[in-house]
């Protein structure tokens, strides 16, 4: 389904290099440090396991170090780093496993630190729902998951996502709609809607 769309982003490898006219250059390592939490959030949003996330972020760091010095605009640097991170995630998307933690384990961990842990039967029902969404997100095409994570986990708007993914904002919005409906359908089709 989305393979062709995914290559739209992946094919433009120049995105992993600073743009020739006025790209981020200077202080990219500094920018990486400042943006490190946001970048980790992007990688987490794509569902990579911690060890794989480390590898991806390390690659982004190296790209930042290669970019050297020169960028005066922190926003531009942040966008460039986000773009490199997204591209790295997309390149790794099909090679790595994602969202691998079992739903039951996730909920048990959360219940352990929750002030009001749910009852066992609530926990079981929620685990079933969570597992359905987890599998749907594992199967979701990268061209849909990337904007979904950027929008709803990294709190970016469609315009920002379109700049990072080099897509028209309208395409981003339609992919967001498609991804949301796929996840919702997964719950509804299983009769698991609330």
């Amino acid at each position: 389904m989305g393979t062709n769309r995914a290559t739209t982003v992946n094919a433009n490898q120049e995105h992993d290099q600073p743009e020739p006219d006025g790209p981020p250059g200077t202080g990219m390592v500094t920018a990486f440090l400042v943006q490190s939490k946001a970048l980790r959030r992007i990688v987490a949003g794509m569902g990579f396991a911690p060890a794989d996330a480390d590898d991806i972020l390390q690659d982004v760091y190296i790209e930042a170090a290669r970019a050297g010095s020169g960028c005066q605009d922190p926003d531009q640097a942040a966008r460039w780093l986000a773009r490199v991170t997204v591209n790295r995630c997309l390149l790794e998307y099909r090679r790595r496993q994602r969202f691998t933690r079992a739903a039951g384990q996730i909920l048990e961990d959360r219940a352990a630190i929750s002030p009001k842990p749910p009852l066992p039967d609530e926990l079981a029902a929620r685990a079933e729902q969570l597992d359905a969404v987890r599998r749907a997100m594992q199967d979701l095409d990268e061209s849909l998951l990337a904007p979904l994570a950027l929008r709803y986990f990294s709190d970016m708007n469609a315009t920002e996502i379109s700049q990072i993914m080099d897509l028209p904002a309208s395409t981003v919005r339609s992919r967001l709609r498609e991804a949301r409906l796929i996840l919702a359908r997964e719950l509804a089709d299983r009769g698991l809607e609330p």
């Binding site: 440090l33 987490a44 996330a53 996730i106 729902q129 996840l183 919702a184 997964e186």
Partner: protein
């Protein structure tokens, strides 16, 4: 009666759930929802699935954070199990070529030194001349007791801290890798501080991270010195 069909509503439901519709459209969708239980179910599923997705994302982020010890800097590369290592071998190789080419040369030198240390006793300690003679001058052993070219006696019993070469190689590789990471984080922090003197608090966290996570490396020592110097400077101020 609603002005939209269910098909049309499906296109608007996500924006409705995100509160991204203009007032007129919002009212129209709300009117349709009031009459249509199927679309109400879809809306509920949209909201519920997003909430569950947030749970998954937060969990993934928490896992990454906990692996990194909540440090704000670089990812820490931990030794992996064999399955993980094999799965990412090509990726690791490319990255390591970039990162570790210079340190690999240094590791080679260290190995040479270790090899020198092990081999030297074989020809020097008790019967140096004989050992050399056995190896080079007497290719054919005469009748009588055989003298091994490199005898077990020459090696002696392994010292208490003996490591087999493969283990030593792995340990050295990890040590070098770790030292390189520490140096990289330290350098990045120095650069950050030089570029933005206002980042001193962030830099302090970074130095503390290097000092604790990479304890025993040269970079950790330097990080501790920088921490002390920051503390002293602040005390004076």
């Amino acid at each position: 009666m609603s002005q939209y069909s269910c098909l049309e509503i499906a296109d608007l439901l996500v924006d409705f759930a995100d509160d991204n519709l203009a007032t007129a459209q919002r009212q129209a969708v709300a009117a349709h929802l009031a009459d249509c239980p199927d679309c109400r179910r879809t809306l509920a599923a949209l909201q519920q699935s997003l909430s569950l997705a947030q749970t998954l994302w937060e969990d993934a982020e928490g896992q990454i954070e906990s692996r990194r010890g909540n440090s704000p800097v670089l990812p820490t590369r931990q030794p992996r199990n064999h399955g993980e290592r094999n799965a990412t071998l090509a990726f690791q190789f490319r990255r390591r070529v970039v990162l570790l080419a210079p340190v690999a040369i240094a590791a080679g030198l260290v190995l040479l030194l270790i090899g020198h240390r092990f081999w030297k006793p074989a020809i020097t300690p008790h019967q140096p001349d004989m050992a050399r003679k056995d190896a080079s001058v007497q290719p054919l052993q005469p009748a009588g007791p055989q003298v091994p070219l490199i005898s077990a006696v020459a090696w002696g019993t392994p010292p208490d801290n003996y490591e087999d070469p493969q283990t030593a190689l792995t340990r050295i590789e990890l040590d070098v890798d770790r030292a390189a990471q520490a140096a990289m984080v330290l350098a990045a922090t120095d650069t950050c501080l030089a570029d933005q003197p206002g980042c001193e608090d962030l830099a302090k966290d970074q130095y503390a991270f290097v000092a604790t996570t990479y304890a025993g490396t040269e970079a950790a020592t330097k990080a501790r010195q920088r921490l002390e110097s920051i503390s002293e400077r602040r005390t004076l101020q």
